[in-house]
């Protein structure tokens, strides 16, 4: 079962699966029912997916997972912001919709595997367990956003374009005359419009509260209109006049509507606690490279349990102090070769 977003990667993934002799059925997931101008389930994207499927001569279905998407992605996105947490909805969508809901639907219907157009690779370790590796195209690598896959999921997942770079994907699409060959990559969160943005989306769903902006000593420096829109690490839009020293948001206290700003040194931290950790194979501790955003530079650190005995909680001790990670962001652990994902989780509040 090939998840087809209507983009070039999943289009070419379909062609590669057929080349390798798989029987393929294309599926587009209808996830978001509200306004959208950016995302992956607009009618024109479904049209693209269907037309590519016709061209590849495979069946194409549309599954409506709107309820799951709302429950696991959109509702938490809204309630997290209300608590001052900045979630990554695309990762939650992968976790709950693509690699849970779709995978179990595929199982139910007798499919051997689910394939997607993600740029990541699945391999086998000497032990026989599955590994999750960075995609061949370093610039397009998406191992970060699929870090939550476990052995059971990896064993039933295929990433056909993970072995080739994006230029080659587009070249193949061009060569096969696929209509999506030069379609731009999707960039943004699919349920947030580029015109209204996050502000409009959240403003329609939660009541924003104004917040005081203070420095580390508690002195009031300014005001923000919506404390829920402020993220740790943010520099602009925090109601401070320009020209002074660079200031970063170093803490957001949503219940008390206080935004704390500090200079470069205040924004650094030596440890980060990660919750809801998942592991590619077994729980691991020790030295690792740790990445905190989709295209962030992995930084050396030591990962260990936080002493609480909870296996889902991990303490990351950075080799060099790092800028504070906004709570809710995914923190992904790679091996020292920066090749394989070891595990990952979510930065704690």
């Amino acid at each position: 079962m090939l998840a087809m977003s209507g983009g070039v990667d999943s289009s070419v993934a379909g062609a590669l699966l057929l080349r390798d002799g798989h029987e393929v059925v294309g599926v587009t997931m209808k996830l978001w029912g509200g306004d959208s101008d950016t995302g992956c389930c607009s009618v024109s994207d479904v049209d693209d997916a269907r037309r590519v499927a016709q061209q590849l001569d495979i069946d194409h279905l549309v599954f409506n997972f709107g309820d799951d998407f709302n429950a696991h992605v959109v509702d938490p996105y809204v309630s997290d912001h209300a608590l001052g947490v900045t979630p990554n909805p695309c990762i939650e969508c992968n976790r709950h919709v693509k690699f849970d809901r779709l995978l179990s639907r595929a199982d139910q219907l007798g499919f051997d595997a689910v394939a997607t157009g993600h740029h990541a690779r699945i391999g086998r370790a000497a032990s026989g367990s599955f590994t999750l590796e960075r995609g061949a195209d370093a610039a397009k690598d998406q191992s970060y956003v699929v870090h939550m896959l476990d052995q059971a999921a990896l064993g039933r997942t295929l990433f056909p374009v993970g072995d080739i770079d994006k230029t080659e994907v587009r070249r193949l699409a061009e060569e096969m005359g696929l209509r999506t060959a030069s379609k731009p990559d999707s960039q943004d969160v699919c349920f947030i419009t580029s015109t209204g943005g996050r502000q409009t989306f959240l403003g329609d769903r939660i009541s924003f509260r104004p917040g005081r902006v203070v420095d580390r000593s508690g002195a009031v420096l300014g005001e923000v209109e919506a404390v829920e829109m402020i993220t740790i690490g943010q520099r602009r839009g925090i109601g401070l006049p320009g020209g002074g020293p660079k200031r970063y948001v170093v803490d957001v206290d949503v219940p008390n509507a206080i935004v704390v700003v500090g200079d470069d040194s205040d924004s650094l931290c030596t440890t980060t606690v990660v919750e809801r950790a998942t592991w590619i194979d077994t729980r691991t501790a020790g030295e690792a490279l740790v990445q905190c955003s989709a295209h962030g530079v992995p930084q050396p650190a030591t990962i260990a349990g936080d002493g609480s005995g909870e296996c889902e909680t991990v303490r990351v001790t950075w080799s060099e102090p790092q800028r504070r990670i906004a709570p809710g962001q995914s923190v992904v652990f790679y091996d020292l070769a920066d090749k394989c994902v070891v595990g990952g989780g979510t930065a704690r509040r």
Binding site: C41, V62, N64, D67, R105, Q108, L109
Partner: protein
């Protein structure tokens, strides 16, 4: 139908002999259609589809519209978009007559209540609706979306109760892309499409002559077979539902059989998702549907089942099997086998949902 694509390919609005030939075909079709629908020929307006007929009725009445919550979107959306009133339904999908009586007033311009529900097959008591409308909103037009009624109900009994009726050819064996709106003599509706003034200026646009001819043949044929097909297909429908209920637990008949058309076998299957079931049925060459599809092709949660108060947990397992003139006993028995084995499979491998 076919000659109108070739040797009789002329525009009936023209003035030459070929045009007159096409014009005659449309005129004769109109006579036959009027006869089956229980109206006079001048009351028949050919349209491009059932949706156009519904939209013309609601929007053309030019005032406050009232409809039922289980109406087809072709009625529901224009009603809602123009500030109309939507009346709740009972558990069988029938318009709530008490609430209808409450909302009727001299301000109402049009009341629209479907003759037969397209999803669950419920037959509306149009005589009761008509009595209410005539007494409580005597100035209002009464429209019925009769798109799903043609195979099952004699329209000659419905026509005297209403002012406007909508039809679509492909629901009774005709081609897609042609429909009818009947407009009682003397009723003024603003046309949805203006231009060349065809159909007595009630619907401009060049006639789809081939479609109209085919619609007419299908309508006449359907009318002549209706009585026997109702008996034959009612028996098969009972066999189908009884077969499913006998072999499976958790088969919920959505509407009592005595309140719906003979060809409708709508059930909700506990512990099953329609999308999964439809995939397995499709693999086994059984074509079915669950609700209606949105623009992307995804199944949308049914507004009809929601109006009937069916819990979401049950309505996600809706299965809409429809029997028609090509359905045979073998089809029914094979469908029972395939549905039963598919449902058993899905329940066996079901993943518990949070």
């Amino acid at each position: 139908m076919l000659p109108f694509f070739s040797e009789r390919f002329a525009n009936p609005s023209g003035s030459h002999r070929f045009a007159r030939d096409a014009r005659r075909a449309v005129d004769e079709a109109r006579d036959q259609v009027a006869d089956v629908l229980g109206v006079v020929p001048g009351e028949v307006v050919f349209t491009g589809c059932g949706t156009e007929a519904d939209n013309t009725a609601i929007l053309g009445a030019g005032g406050l519209a009232v409809c039922a919550a289980a109406e087809h979107h072709a009625v529901l959306l224009p009603t809602e978009q123009h500030g109309g009133t939507v009346v709740r339904t009972d558990a069988a999908g029938h318009i709530d007559l008490d609430q209808l009586a409450e909302v009727l007033s001299p301000d109402v311009a049009i009341v629209s209540v479907m003759a037969v529900n397209n999803e669950v097959g419920t037959i509306t008591d149009l005589a009761a609706v008509s009595r209410l409308v005539r007494s409580l909103a005597p100035g209002a037009l009464l429209h019925t979306d009769a798109v799903q009624a043609v195979c099952w109900l004699d329209l000659r009994n419905i026509a005297p109760l209403v002012d406007l009726m909508s039809f679509s050819a492909h629901k009774f064996g005709g081609p897609k892309g042609v429909g009818v709106l009947t407009i009682r003599d003397g009723v003024q509706l603003d046309p949805l499409i203006s231009g060349g003034g065809q159909e007595r200026e009630r619907r401009s646009g060049t006639h789809n002559v081939a479609g109209i001819a085919a619609l007419t043949s299908a309508l006449v044929e359907t009318d002549s077979q209706r009585a026997t097909e109702n008996v034959r297909l009612g028996g098969l429908r009972d066999r189908l539902i009884d077969g499913l209920s006998g072999a499976l637990d958790g088969v919920v008949e959505t509407v009592p059989r005595n309140r719906k058309i003979a060809g409708s076998a709508h059930v909700c299957l506990e512990g099953v998702e329609s999308e999964s079931l439809l995939f397995l049925l499709d693999e086994a060459d059984v074509c079915a549907s669950a609700a209606s599809a949105c623009a992307s092709g995804a199944m949308e949660p049914s507004h009809v089942l929601a109006a009937m108060g069916v819990e979401r947990s049950l309505s996600v397992g809706a299965l809409r099997l429809t029997l028609g003139h090509t359905t045979t006993l073998d089809d029914v028995d094979r469908t029972i086998d395939v549905v039963v084995s598919s449902v058993e499979h899905l329940r066996r491998v079901a993943v518990p949902r949070p």
